[in-house]
Amino acid sequence: MSEVKISIRNLHKTFGTKQVLKGVDLDVFKGQSLVVIGGSGTGKSVLIKCIQGLLEPDFGTIKIDGADVLSEKSKGHISEKMGMLFQGGALFDSLSVWENVAFSLIENKGYDRQVAKREAVRVLRQVGLAPDVADLSPSELSGGMQKRVGLARAIITKPDIIFFDEPTTGLDPIMADVINDLIVESAKGLGATTLTITHDMSSVRKIADRVAMLYQGKIIWQGTVKEMDKTENPYVVQFINGCAQGPIKVEV
């Protein structure tokens, strides 16, 4: 068995009276692509934000390479290992495309702006964007282009771990497939460990080495894509087939 990169144990998170995570246990292995599936409002985004230190869990442990994410001592060091593609891109609209991509290089690594721009253009090319996009503002880009810029920003520092939050939401099926291909290429190229949350099953089949299903604040099933297709777990079967009938009740 390969080395555990991210280890989550007994993770709990409550907002007001709503208990979102109720004891999540999950391991992500080094170099592996894990996709967490689950319906809207099941706590997928909360889980990913807890791992990144954007939200503080009520209790439980999260370790990356054995270091506790929640300890102040390791926070800064760990965040440098991570990259993130946000659902809506989350590009800084006060900066140009290349400044977005090169943000970490300029602000954290002290790169000269010209060098950083050259590097940003190179990574933009890698994700299929022409150099003339570099000087545009994020608001001038289509949804698909914004995702590519977000991906370029996430991978420019060559992180060990990349998180993808609903990477294909809001894209047409063809563009979604292009983004999925880019995610696979980028992750394999960097040898990075990836954790993706999505409810897009074509995305799952394309990028997952392993799949975990989150339901009512707990991981209720884990396995490979092949195992997912063969499982008789009624929750997973209902979710991957998109049936209204089954044990998962949707609150209308």
Binding site: M84, F86, A90, L91, F92, S104, E107, N108, R153
Partner: protein, 263 residues
């Protein structure tokens, strides 16, 4: 029946009270964190200079217009009031004291709160709801240092400069009305003004300005950072930023006046 009415009454009273205490606690924590990060490295000088330009340079016309008319009105009102007692000669000194101690700091601060406090809350609020602040954190950048500290430093340093500019323009407004409308001798008016200049008046005005600038930036950042939801949440944050900054400016104006001038 009676018990239920009492319960309802206490609930009606208690909910806003608890919300207020929670908000106050959040504000105190935010201020402590913002001040700590503003005083410790890393410093984003470029962001600070951008805020200085936004808050200072682009506010000059608004501050100039506000204070010139304030100075002109004070000259007119003082003249019409004091003429009854034959004390018209006090117009220059009343204009000087009113403008430097109260009108320039308070009016400039209120105008900047409307112009910059609202813009800050809207910008930071939009960043919050579109996950741009989360993105900053994932890029190993502390939003308190990158976004809030430069704004707080800009508020603290720019407002005194704006108020100094407002002092000069406001006094000039009084001079224009005094000389060209009320018929004062220009040299006498200028002499009366210069003779009345006191360090305490100018210093108190500039101290107020620094405090008001800090309040404007703080309220803009705090309300923007705590905005929730989408466009409506950002709109609400913007309104809250302007209203809370304006009220705090008036409260602190009284407190600082007490500190400087009560005997």
């Amino acid at each position: 029946m009676m018990k239920r009415q009492i319960e309802n009454f206490l609930r009606t009273l208690g909910h806003p009270l608890v919300s207020f205490i929670i908000s106050l606690g959040n504000l105190v924590l935010f201020v402590a964190s913002a001040v700590y990060h503003a005083l410790t490295p890393k410093y984003y000088v470029k962001n600070f200079l951008r805020q200085v330009l936004e808050m200072g340079f682009y506010s000059l016309p608004v501050v100039g217009l506000t204070t010139i008319f304030a100075g002109m009105v004070i000259a007119l009102q003082t003249y019409s009031g004091f003429a009854r007692y034959g004390a018209e000669s006090a117009v220059a000194s009343v204009v000087l004291i009113s403008v430097t101690r109260e009108l320039a700091p308070v009016l400039s601060a209120l105008m900047v709160a409307g112009r910059i406090g609202a813009a800050m809350a809207a910008e930071i609020g939009t960043m919050k709801v579109t996950e741009q602040i989360d993105a900053l954190v994932t890029l190993s950048t502390n939003p308190f240092k990158y976004l809030f500290a430069p704004r707080l430093w800009a508020g603290l340093t720019v407002l005194p400069v704006l108020v100094l500019f407002g002092d000069v323009i406001g006094i000039f407004g009084g001079y224009v009305v005094g000389v060209y409308k009320l018929g004062f001798n220009p040299a006498n008016y200028i002499n009366s003004t210069i003779e009345e200049i006191e360090a305490i008046g100018i210093i108190s005005g500039l101290t107020k300005a620094a405090v008001f600038g800090f309040i404007i930036a703080l309220m803009g950042c705090y309300n923007g950072y705590h905005s929730k939801g989408g466009a409506q949440g950002v709109g609400q944050a913007t309104t809250n930023a302007v209203v809370s900054a304006s009220i705090l400016i008036l409260i602190f104006n009284y407190i600082l006046t007490e500190v400087f001038f009560s005997k």
